[in-house]
Amino acid sequence: MAKEKSDLIYGTLEMLVLKALQAGPRHGLGIADRIHLVSQDVLRVEQGSLYPALYRLESDGLVKAEWGVSENNRKARYYELTAAGRVRLTAEQAHWERIAGAVNLVMKRAGNIP
């Protein structure tokens, strides 16, 4: 499997994509923009890397895609979460919060104990 860009924590891209789709269907560029915007310019997705992730999610039945017309009147393929995708997002998010919380705890306290 391909490596993700260094400013993305490895393995989180799929979770981020699912989260970006939570509010509603988006096309590829829209997903990249959304992640970029919400992360306040910290997370920059290499645009191309998005697609292998999207195709993987689609093949796994977590998202479904349909051709539509974009805001600029161009043809674009819109991705939408499936029921399985929503379940997966919830699970991933809970998992992520536990891990991130634990990492935070370690980073804050581990240095203090003599």
Partner: protein, 886 residues
């Protein structure tokens, strides 16, 4: 979870087969994304070209991303496999010559070996098709002269009461009987007489009616009979109403009590049409002389063959100690029941055929290896370029593996077909031979172990040698590989050596197959053509067996024989007629130990063994065996006249060297009177038998002094012997209308038809031709490839002044060296094989070293022809075009 996985797999799987539409969709989507990015940069004020570039930078490498997308959504391994399959198929179709040769090579190798192994399995190795058939054993009597004798009734009864190794032990005898329904003419049928527990031992239940009751083999019980399935169908149209019907068997009334299942009939019994009880008469309890009981037994649970043999060895010793008169030196042998009747010569013939068939398989695999190796070598540069372009090792090897597997599997499939057809054909041929000898047809199921072995060998040969060059190419550095141009590739020393060894091996193995085949063929022709010491031609023969109350006295037998001889002598065309207990065309005489008067009495196991034959007057005249000294037997022996014998030349010279043997005396046991030698006849040989006779000494006794109720009638005639059959049948019927005439016909024809050498030679010839063809193909392919690779070098040589003849010789020399080494090895091996065969079949005289050398010369000629074509092509190289072609 499982459903999600399954759904994912199905989605990915269907993607694989909708590649074009999903490929278009992928391109369109990525293009749309790029366009949208470009628009954004245009809007920010960049020029169209800069905007496009910026978008591409931001997006990343389009082709790489597409590749990752394809991996992400489909089933990459399946896509690769399909692509490899297409690629391999295309590669094979593009070189139809190679494909055809490779596939047919595999097919022939596998077909032939499978057919042969299947046949051998059927004849030698299979178990009886009865429940726990591998527990069934045969018990043979062993004496100094043979280890496949029957048992005398008393020994059998002792064995039955004392042996603990068996759950059942049963006696039977095979024979023929006249069979008739009331008021109908008699037919000759074959069947078994068996003790009452016979079917229990085999664990066979009748499909109709009942089996024998345990007392039905005792004297005084009503006569009952079981029919076999095929006889019941053929004779009675499978009518269940036959139960209870009365038929006449050897003139006695018998009641049909049951029908056996079809599975009862199998090879090993010969033709069986009925089973009747083998009546155990009271006098059997003391009969230790006549070893006519055949014995089959079922091993007790947990008893091995070895344990049973040890127990029987002990019982054998006890019997020998208790009855030294008849049993001294004798014992028992236990053998697996199936194939136990196949004698050692037949076994060694089967082993020979199987061994040679295996060699053919090896030659085929080696040939395939050579072909694959050569083909892969030619593509070495292609591999090098693909490695340079980034093909991973697995991507390089996979299509080749698939290609090799395709060849191996196509060849194997065809091979199984060939094997099946060949086995069926050989079995049918056997059948037509055996039918005349009254044996049963057998089916030859494909031996899947061997087929599997052959297929595995073919796959290994194809894959290993097809991959080796690619493997080497993948390891070589890119720059070194690319320096190889089409013209400068010359096979490396190692590669050349591998190639040479493969061809050498093929030549050696093919020489073994060929020269063994030729040796056996020549030896068998010599065997059939040599003077047997008697004249087979112009003889009519038939066998008669006198049984029943009518012939219970010796006088009745003698009267019948005298009457018969008188009647047949007067038949038109008959010159001379005789009777005998044996003919020198199959088994000649019963081995028996003899005591010579005037020589110190040797212990029983050191006494000379002689073959004893009972004959009437005129026996020697009829067979045209010259009487060297004394006279033949007279027609009449006045009562009270002394016992007389006639011996053969070798016997006379061995026991009475430089003496006149006439008047000397011998006897067969210490309790009987001496028998006087009244004549010496020339030695005879058993016609067409490859095995040495049990003894070189023959003693002929007059039938009139030792009446025998089973005998052959031989007539020498000036007309075609076969034409006498109806006359003889009429003569026999005139004396006894119920007596069947068996195995009647021209002796030459019977002897030739029952000889299996013609069939054997055909099989051997076929193998020889195939292995030679394969080896020649190997030589041709290797030299062609070699010559093609050296085209440029030859061009340079010619440009520098070499004559075409020099180039020609250069190529030819390669072939000659290989042939010299391979052929010599092969001839050496085949001489060893003939020696081995000779040790089993002593009567076969194999051709000597000169024959092998002459043979090698012939092989050289064929190899030379195979080498000529590429050599001539090489010699015709045009230096200018060879040097320019680059």
């Amino acid at each position: 979870m499982i459903f999600a996985r399954l759904g994912s797999f199905v989605r990915r799987f269907t993607r694989v087969f909708r590649r074009r539409s999903s490929e278009n969709s992928l391109s369109a989507e990525l293009a749309a994304h790029l366009d949208a990015l470009t628009d954004r940069h245009l809007a920010a004020g960049l020029s169209p070209a800069d905007a496009r570039n910026a978008a591409l930078c931001e997006f990343g490498g389009v082709e790489q991303i597409k590749e990752r997308c394809r991996d992400a959504r489909g089933l990459p391994w399946l896509e690769y496999a399909l692509r490899d399959f297409q690629f391999a198929l295309r590669a094979l179709v593009r070189s139809p010559g190679f494909t055809a040769i490779a596939i047919s090579t595999v097919a022939i190798g596998i077909g032939l070996s499978t057919a042969q192994f299947s046949l051998m399995n059927t004849i030698l190795l299979r178990t009886f098709p009865y429940p726990d058939g591998d527990k069934l054993v045969r018990v043979f009597g062993v004496s100094r002269t043979s280890d496949r004798l029957g048992l005398p009734p008393a020994n059998f009864l002792d064995l039955k009461s004392s042996a603990r190794s068996f759950t059942a032990i049963s006696a039977f005898s095979m024979g023929e009987a006249s069979f008739a329904e009331p008021g109908q003419p008699t037919d000759l049928v074959s069947g078994l007489s068996a003790s009452a527990d016979f079917l229990d031992a085999l664990q066979v239940r009748p499909t109709l009616g009942r089996a024998f009751r345990s007392d039905e083999d005792q004297p005084g019980r009503p006569n009952v009979i079981l029919l076999t399935d095929h006889f019941w169908r053929q004779r009675y149209g499978a009518d269940p109403g036959v139960l209870g019907r009365t038929v006449r068997l050897d003139r006695q009334p018998y009641t049909i009590i049951g029908v056996l299942p079809a599975s009862f009939e199998s090879i090993g019994w010969g033709t069986v049409e009925y089973i009747r009880p083998l009546t155990i008469w009271p006098n059997f309890a003391t009969d230790r002389k006549n070893a006519w009981f055949r014995c089959i037994a079922r091993l007790a649970p947990g008893r091995s063959l070895g344990a049973a043999q040890s127990e029987l060895t002990v019982i054998g010793r006890q019997l020998a100690a208790a009855y030294p008169q008849d049993n001294d030196g004798n014992g028992f042998r236990v053998a697996k029941a199936y194939g136990a009747d196949v004698d050692s010569a037949a076994q060694s013939v089967h082993l020979l055929l199987t061994g040679l068939a295996t060699l053919v398989l090896v030659v085929a695999c080696v040939n395939l290896s050579g072909l694959q190796f050569a083909r892969a070598l030619v593509r070495e540069r292609e591999f090098a370029i693909r490695v340079a372009l980034g093909a991973s090792r697995s991507r390089l090897l996979c299509p080749l593996i698939v290609e090799s597997l395709l060849v191996a599997f196509a060849g194997s499939g065809l091979g199984l077909l060939v094997g099946h057809v060949a086995a069926t054909m050989i079995a049918r041929h056997f059948q037509s031979i055996e039918a005349s000898a009254n044996h049963q047809v057998f089916l030859v199921p494909i031996d899947w172990h061997v087929a599997g072995f052959g297929i595995a060998a073919a796959i290994i040969a194809a894959v290993a040698f097809g991959l080796a060059p690619a493997w080497l190419a993948a390891r070589r550095s890119t720059s070194a590989a690319l320096k190889l141009t089409a013209q400068t590739i010359t096979t490396s020393r190692t590669q050349h050596r591998i190639r040479g060894l493969l061809v050498l091996g093929q030549l050696a193995l093919a020489t073994v197959v060929m020269s063994t085949a030729a040796g056996v063929t020549v030896a068998s022709h010599r065997l059939l053509a040599r003077d047997p010491g008697w004249n087979l031609d112009g003889l009519y023969t038939c066998w008669l067996g006198l049984s029943g109350d009518r012939y219970s006295s010796e006088h009745a037998v003698l009267d019948f024989q005298r009457d018969l001889l008188e009647r047949v002598r007067s038949l038109p065309g008959v010159e001379v007629a005789a009777l005998g207990s044996a003919l020198p065309n199959v088994y000649f005489g019963d081995p028996i130990s003899a005591e010579i008067e005037g020589r110190p009495v040797a212990p029983r196991d050191k006494q000379p063994i002689v073959s004893s034959i009972l004959v009437s007057a005129d026996y020697f005249a009829t067979l045209q065996i010259p009487v060297l000294r004394g006279a033949g037997f007279p027609r009449e022996f006045p009562s009270g006249s002394p016992l007389v014998v006639i011996v053969n030349e070798t016997m006379a010279q061995t026991f009475w060297p430089n003496e006149n043997p006439i008047g000397k005396r011998l006897r067969f046991s210490a309790t009987e009177p001496w028998r006087q030698v009244i004549g010496v006849v020339r030695d005879v040989r058993v016609f067409g038998s490859p095995v040495a006779p049990p003894s070189a000494f023959y003693v002929y006794r007059p039938l009139a002094q030792s009446p025998s109720s089973y005998f052959t009638c031989i007539l020498r005639t000036s007309a075609a012997p076969g034409l006498l059959a109806p006359d003889v049948r009429r003569a026999v019927s005139a004396i006894d209308p119920d007596l069947p005439v068996r195995r009647a016909g021209s002796l030459r024809q019977i002897a030739t038809e029952s000889n299996s050498f013609p069939l054997l030679n055909k099989c051997l010839g076929l193998m020889a031709v195939i292995s030679t063809g394969l080896a020649m193909l190997g030589v041709y392919a290797m030299l062609s490839q070699l010559a093609a690779q050296r085209t440029r070098e030859f061009g340079v040589r010619i440009a520098l002044g070499a004559r075409p003849a020099d180039i020609y010789n250069l190529v030819l020399r390669q072939g000659t060296i290989l042939l010299a080494i391979g052929g010599t090895l092969g001839v050496g091996c085949s001489l060893a094989v003939s020696r081995l065969l000779h040790s089993v079949m002593a009567e076969l005289e194999f051709p000597g070293l000169m024959f092998s050398l002459g043979f090698l010369a012939g092989l050289g000629l064929v190899t030379w022809l195979a080498a000529c074509v590429p050599a001539r092509r090489a010699a015709r190289v045009d230096p200018v075009s060879a040097l320019r072609a680059e």
